[in-house]
Symmetry: C3
Subunit: 216 residues, 3 copies
């Protein structure tokens, strides 16, 4: 039985942390959707603009994460364990950073083409982030034991496994088919950034699982 939990019984409905966490998951949704867009653009200027918008989301993510840290410092009472709020905020921030890095590499390297699997991996990232988004909203009702909550992190885990298979396919196809070494290096690094992003989403899933197990 944790002291934060005891305190939270007396807590009024949280009006600080949940809105900030929701804002962060909102940024994740937007950034993932822009990353998806980026992979469809074949116009350099549009790609530059798209990356700028992703970068702007990343800066906004930094700010909101800063506000969460500040709020953690200023408030004794939190809607759930402070370490979990802290871990959740940091992992979501890292996930947005990973999306930004993937986008940056697409722009920097401008590979001749994108592997089909890359596009499929972004679909996985988007779906995973949708689950995170739903789960974060679900934190408002944390006290009621709700089987839906469990669905979120199970689906995230399933998506990560699907992403793993896609990553393997993408890398093996690349080494089998791409004869231009420079092009291979470029595409390989982009695929690897996407795989890191999938892993980041899964890490958020693990923290959500911890929170749900504790409270739901």
């Amino acid at each position: 039985m944790n002291i934060n939990f005891l305190l939270s019984i007396f807590a009024p409905k949280d009006k600080k942390f949940l809105p900030l966490l929701e804002e962060t998951s909102d940024i994740m949704v937007k950034a993932a959707s822009m990353l998806d867009e980026l992979f469809t653009l074949d116009n350099r200027q549009k790609a530059v603009d798209c990356c700028k918008r992703i970068k702007a989301e990343e800066s906004r993510g930094d700010k909101v994460t800063g506000l969460i840290h500040k709020a953690l410092y200023e408030n004794f009472i939190t809607p759930f364990d402070r370490e979990d709020i802290d871990a959740l905020a940091d992992e979501m921030d890292d996930c947005i950073d990973a999306i930004n890095r993937a986008a940056q590499k697409v722009l920097l390297y401008s590979p001749r083409r994108h592997a089909d699997c890359s596009v499929a991996m972004i679909a996985i990232i988007k779906q995973g982030i949708e689950q995170v988004h739903g789960a974060i909203k679900g934190l408002r009702e944390l006290k009621k034991s709700d089987p839906k909550l469990r669905q979120y992190y199970r689906e995230i885990k399933r998506l990560e496994e699907e992403g793993d298979v896609l990553y393997e396919k993408a890398i093996m196809a690349l080494f089998r088919e791409e004869t231009d070494t420079i092009e291979l290096i470029k595409q390989k690094e982009i695929i690897q950034e996407l795989e890191k992003t999938v892993n980041r989403v899964n890490k958020i899933g693990k923290i959500l699982k911890t929170i749900f197990i504790k409270y739901a």
Copy 2:
């Protein structure tokens, strides 16, 4: 003087955390041994099977780490500082992840050959993990000041330095001798994953040192 420590004086012999930490170090030993095996296999199907077994250990590691986090939440009293249990569990989990990633790259890339130094680096990883295993068992007797405990992290540190030298040799030989660029990329990334694994073991050693300095 930390409050966890004061509480631990009254703690009954721990039956939760130490068995879970031991189970994690057990998984490390098994995964490292399978990684070693993987480097000797020249049959594709056997390599696939071996990687599946490593992946299964990694999933098991995830579960045990989850149980440790849950136990940390549910128990006020811990056999030693909660932050150290947390850090130890996370680092061991990361080390198992690193072994899994190295194995995955061997399978994905199927390089034509393995550098001699790679095999030597795995021997270093195995020895380092044996030390971790011994040290984790040693945590049961933490209160007695025991010079053996110090031996564990000193040996881990020594092994990491040896691993560094091997890594340098491996990379320099690769750039000197490998004329096929694609093959060079493959082997380089595998060697780099092994080096990261060595570093992970060393990070565990640092946490063990902190714990020993505090309590032994």
Copy 3:
């Protein structure tokens, strides 16, 4: 209002944490200056010596970080929030590690030449670390609200953005101009390590910002 803060009101002038943090930022300054030197050396033996000196600073950094963790354990009263001291020490240690890794890669790969942008990125790293150094000293006067403190992390943020632009230029020039693939791989990885170092400095800036917002 955090309990550490309440306790710190009664704290005598800190004689433990601030000197150790200052020692760490001192190591950062030295390591960055040696990294700068390394990029000017064209003699192999001198480069080997320079890397050894950087490695020695890295080991010294490890030790001081260990002392900070030990001091955190032994003292209830800290000059500011314990989590922030912990995060600051760890990030500074990671930054020194990043410098060491960049230096190691220069030695291991011995690229034929260094991109102009690499040298400019090291200048950015050095300037960023100077700001960290100033800010850490500024922690002594944390209670007085001082606009100078804000300058430190704003300048670190500005330098990171400048570093980003340089990184992009360096990578794009490399892919445009370098026709030798092996050489491209070598220079790319060195530039990427420098970029990681710039990011590490910026992470320290974020922690400093958190501290300043809390107390200044």
